[in-house]
């Protein structure tokens, strides 16, 4: 039988073997609950469901009344809809452009008050940020969106997240809010000839990942990315056969080739990178 590589085995033991692990928990034995007839249970579920629908309708009706949005003026909320976009993942201490897109309103509001709330920072008092977003030019709207049109207003703000995590961003008083996401890497724009296969970044749990299509030749794609990164002020941090990590100001971006695919993968940590070394 072939032996394992000793150096790799040592490295596994040293690096992964030292990661603290939880202990198994044996669930407490439970006493059997009294059997409940299924007919009353179904009836109860139906009552709860109908009640929830009625309450939901009432809340929607309340929201549809005219509401004041921001400091600018009146908004007819019944025909409005919102989308909120962040142009980059929330990185600690790095300003991120937040775009509020509103449809179906007369152009009266000049400034929008908003609040960002961290939904993964339980018990953290610094987990909420308020701000004001002035009305942006029409060109501030995301042109790729089919919804962007003459009745669309866009408010733009730079927001600095105190910490990474899951954030809900929206005006504190609003109509229907649809939180959409257009996440692109911080500080980097794709070169012409390359495009995101998936426009929105997919959180991997550790890093944001994007797949990029620069044509059928991966070598050429890597070269295009390298040129674009250098042009945009990124510095090489580490480089190997398939992966290179680049640093600009306080954030890092990793470019990797995908196995058996001409696509490239971009990865960016939602946390601020202070220095180049891993």
């Amino acid at each position: 039988m072939r032996e394992l590589d000793p150096s790799l085995r040592d490295r596994f033991a040293r690096e992964l073997g030292s990661v603290p692990a939880p202990s198994p928990r044996r669930p407490e034995p439970t006493t059997a609950s009294p059997r409940v007839s299924s007919v009353p249970a179904v009836a109860l579920a139906l009552v709860v469901l109908v009640g929830a629908v009625l309450v939901g309708s009432a809340i929607r009706g309340l929201r549809a009344t005219p509401t004041s949005v921001g400091s600018g003026g009146e908004a007819t909320a019944s025909a409005e809809s919102w989308r909120v976009f962040t142009q980059a993942p929330p990185i600690e201490g790095v300003p991120v452009t937040v775009l509020f897109e509103r449809r179906g309103l007369p152009a009266q509001t000049q400034e929008l008050s908003f609040q960002a709330t961290c939904t993964s920072c339980l018990g953290d008092p610094s987990s909420s940020v308020s701000g004001k977003a002035p009305l942006g030019a029409a060109s501030a709207c995301v042109p790729a969106l089919a919804s962007s049109g003459a009745d669309t207003q866009c408010f733009v703000a730079n927001l600095t997240f105190p910490r990474a995590g899951s954030w809900h961003i929206g005006p504190p008083v609003d109509g229907e809010i649809v939180v959409g996401t257009k996440v692109t890497p911080v500080g980097f724009a794709l070169p012409s000839g390359c495009s995101y296969v998936r426009e929105a970044g997919t959180p991997s749990g550790i890093r944001y990942l994007w797949q990029v299509d620069c044509g059928s030749d991966a070598d050429r794609g890597v070269q295009m990315m390298r040129t674009a990164l250098t042009t945009q002020g990124w510095m090489t941090c580490t480089s190997s056969v398939d992966t290179s990590t680049w640093v600009k100001e306080r954030v890092a971006l990793t470019v990797a080739r995908l196995t058996r695919s001409p696509l490239l993968e971009l990865a960016q940590s939602p946390r601020e990178t202070v220095q180049c070394s891993p």
């Binding site: 039988m1 072939r2 394992l4 590589d5 150096s7 790799l8 085995r9 490295r11 596994f12 690096e15 992964l16 073997g17 990661v19 692990a21 939880p22 202990s23 198994p24 928990r25 044996r26 669930p27 962040t86 993942p89 929330p90 993964s120 920072c121 910490r163 990474a164 995590g165 899951s166 954030w167 809900h168 961003i169 939180v179 959409g180 996401t181 996440v183 929105a200 997919t202 959180p203 991997s204 749990g205 550790i206 890093r207 944001y208 580490t238 190997s240 056969v241 398939d242 992966t243 990797a256 196995t259 940590s269 939602p270 946390r271 891993p278």
Partner: protein
């Protein structure tokens, strides 16, 4: 194997299986949930299993993969990533980074061999593949990992 010996073996393997899931790409919270689920399944397992570590790993891996699938279906465009205090330190481990870039089959075999310390035959039995496949994949993955780790130095 008696029931008590089986559970004791599962308890011994618990930390290794947790780390093996991290090696596969699970987040710490996902790995902890999956291995605990698998352990609770082991508590009611009646059939005799020769290889508790392999069994626990395969059950935990399936739980984790099912959860991942559910998350992809229901939260495809979540607005931002979940934050976990343990992640940055894990993310800094070059070995973990490189391990996660291996094809999934090679990754599974590598964590079985190097982390769970299963033999080729035990790995093959746990994953339901041929022993020759385990040997070949281990050799390929070892070579690739060493090359990448050397290059990353």
């Amino acid at each position: 194997m008696s029931q008590s010996a089986w559970l004791a073996a599962c308890e011994r393997s618990y930390p290794q299986v947790y780390r093996a899931l991290l090696g596969l790409g699970a987040r710490p919270d996902e790995a902890a949930d999956a291995v605990q689920d698998a352990f609770e399944h082991a508590l009611v397992q009646r059939a005799v299993v020769a290889n508790p570590a392999g069994w626990l790993f395969v059950v935990a891996k399936r739980r984790w993969q099912r959860r991942r699938l559910r998350e992809r279906i229901f939260f495809p465009l979540s607005s931002s990533t979940a934050s976990d205090g343990n992640l940055p330190s894990l993310n800094r481990i070059a070995l973990v980074e490189e391990l996660r870039r291996l094809p999934s089959r090679q990754r599974e075999i590598v964590v079985c061999r190097y982390l769970l310390e299963l033999t080729q035959a035990e790995t093959a039995a746990a994953l339901g593949i041929a022993t020759g496949t385990v040997a070949a994949a281990t050799a390929q993955a070892t070579r690739r990992l060493k090359q990448r780790l050397e290059a990353a130095k």
